[in-house]
């Protein structure tokens, strides 16, 4: 567990995982009780080809500190070619982040198969360490009208 201590404040990392490979890989890692950092929130999608690049930026702009996309290895896509399209889209999309002032390293995409529990552990651990090294992200201001929504449960505020 490099650079991660028990005292480190958890950051918000969103993971978009394909149902057939990477979600299975994460499950394999879990069943195998591989130790992993707990910052990642997983959103399961049918395929990495389902990942609209806007999911990534929406997450980053709304307060996520990092976003990880993971799908089947190229040639292994359950839908034959979804990850081939994803690879192109995500690779192009990477270019946008630094122009917006967002560190390029806050987003990564990779491939993890259902059997690759150890690889999943490595990816999550490395990526989480990478995000911790960058620290909490800045995000763009939301409307002041919606400020009170952040106030937490049960508090009515003007």
């Amino acid at each position: 567990m490099p650079e991660l201590t028990e005292n480190t404040k958890e950051l918000r990392i969103v993971g978009f995982l394909c149902n057939w490979c990477s979600y299975g890989g994460a499950d394999t890692a879990g069943v195998g009780r591989f130790i992993q950092p707990t910052d990642l929130r997983i959103i399961r999608l049918p395929c990495s080809g389902r990942v609209n690049p806007l999911f990534i930026i929406k997450a980053l702009m709304s307060g996520a500190d990092g976003v990880l996309v993971s799908g089947c290895h190229p040639r292994d896509c359950h839908y034959a070619e979804g990850n081939f399209y994803a690879r192109r889209r995500l690779e192009v999309f990477k270019h946008l982040l630094p122009v917006l002032g967002i560190d390029r390293r806050r987003f990564e995409y990779t491939w993890v198969s259902a059997s690759e529990g150890p690889r999943w552990q490595k990816v999550v651990t490395d990526f989480t360490a990478q995000i911790h090294a960058l620290g909490p992200a800045k995000f763009f201001a939301d409307a002041p009208e919606l400020d009170f929504l952040k106030a937490g449960e049960g508090v009515m505020q003007p």
Binding site: K58, F84, R88, V92, H95, L96, G101, E108, F140
Partner: protein, 326 residues
């Protein structure tokens, strides 16, 4: 015969076979041209009948083609505008046979923002009462005051990196197309932004986007934004953006726009020109254009047969190197 006279003749010859020919006519003042839909021969009189002539042919008229699809129309294009048509045809958004493309050798078009910036401090473009092009200068009157500006200084940025002074495709061409110049887009505009730190860039967008009035002129001026009345920006399901006046939502829309244009944008710059708040929204599209050119060697709007790179793939990608985790 002057180019615009030759164009008029071609337009008159084209009119009988088409619903209308779209060209440029007079706008609200000496500096502005405006799209004109010529339906009758007498409508052709006003074509380029402006002080700036072809230099004032600013609007990209390819914009109007998708909404007119099903009708045969003529359209006069600058080289850059023809690229939008090429892209629309390549994506099967318009039918090639429904458009009569009329080209001319473009020497560049005016950038009204640059003109205003070139005026003395405190003066604005709306004060201009008269204009005339004399050789390589634009002579302006602001009431009794006379000001001369070099044409090269007030040309749109895109003209300085133009690879297509003639039309990429055309059915008729006035004059002789100049040889395509050897220019390389160095993305100097992006380089200037990237000279800033990440924090500064973040603040740059916060400041710029704070002026956005959410009018969607950027979207509606974009010839490749073809969803038009069905834009996801107006959708509550999916709910990408709220109706609030927040920087986040405004920037989010720009990212949606740019992302939907990745691998499709020809860099015509109409989005930025249309922005009443002067926000450099083209930068985001150029970011993707540069990325797409780097990875796929692709430049949109040059070939009607080409497949946009994000609509296809290769099993082994030559220029995508993924991060190693081991």
């Amino acid at each position: 015969m002057a180019i615009h006279e030759q164009l008029k003749k071609i337009i008159l010859d084209t009119l009988p076979g088409v619903e209308c020919v779209i060209g440029w006519g007079p706008g609200q003042d000496a500096l502005h041209g405006s799209p004109v839909f010529m339906r009758k021969p007498e409508d052709v009189d006003s074509f380029m009948d402006t002080p700036l002539g072809a230099f004032g042919a600013v609007n990209n008229l390819a914009l109007f083609l998708p909404e007119l699809s099903g009708k045969k129309v003529g359209v006069v294009v600058k080289g850059c505008d023809s690229r939008s048509i090429v892209q629309l045809v390549a994506e099967k958004l318009i039918k090639r046979e429904e458009v009569v493309i009329i080209g001319f050798p473009c020497e560049g078009a005016a950038d009204l923002t640059k003109i205003e910036k070139a005026l003395p401090e405190g003066r604005e473009a709306g004060e201009v009462t008269g204009a005339a092009i004399v050789g390589e200068t634009l002579k302006l009157s602001l009431g009794s005051e006379e000001i001369s500006l070099g044409l090269a200084d007030i040309k749109a940025d895109k003209c300085t990196r133009c690879k297509t002074p003639g039309a990429v495709i055309s059915d008729a061409f006035a004059g002789i197309a100049g040889k395509a110049p050897e220019v390389r887009d160095e993305y100097a505009d992006l380089a200037a932004l990237e000279a800033m730190s990440l924090d500064e860039r973040f603040k740059f967008w916060e400041r710029e986007m704070s002026r956005c009035i959410r009018c969607y002129a950027c979207r509606n001026a974009c010839p490749l934004c073809v969803c038009r009345d069905h834009c996801v920006a107006g959708s509550r399901s999916p709910h990408w953006i709220t109706q609030t006046d927040s920087t986040r939502d405004k920037l989010m829309f720009q990212i949606i726009h740019a992302t939907h244009l990745a691998g499709r944008c020809t860099g015509c710059g109409e989005c930025q020109r249309a922005c009443p708040a002067g926000i450099p929204v083209l930068l985001l599209k150029r970011t993707f254009n540069r990325g797409v050119a780097e990875i796929f060697g692709y430049d949109a709007g040059m070939d009607t047969e080409a497949t946009p790179p994000l609509l296809t793939f290769q099993v082994e990608e030559a220029h995508i190197k993924e991060r190693e985790w081991q």
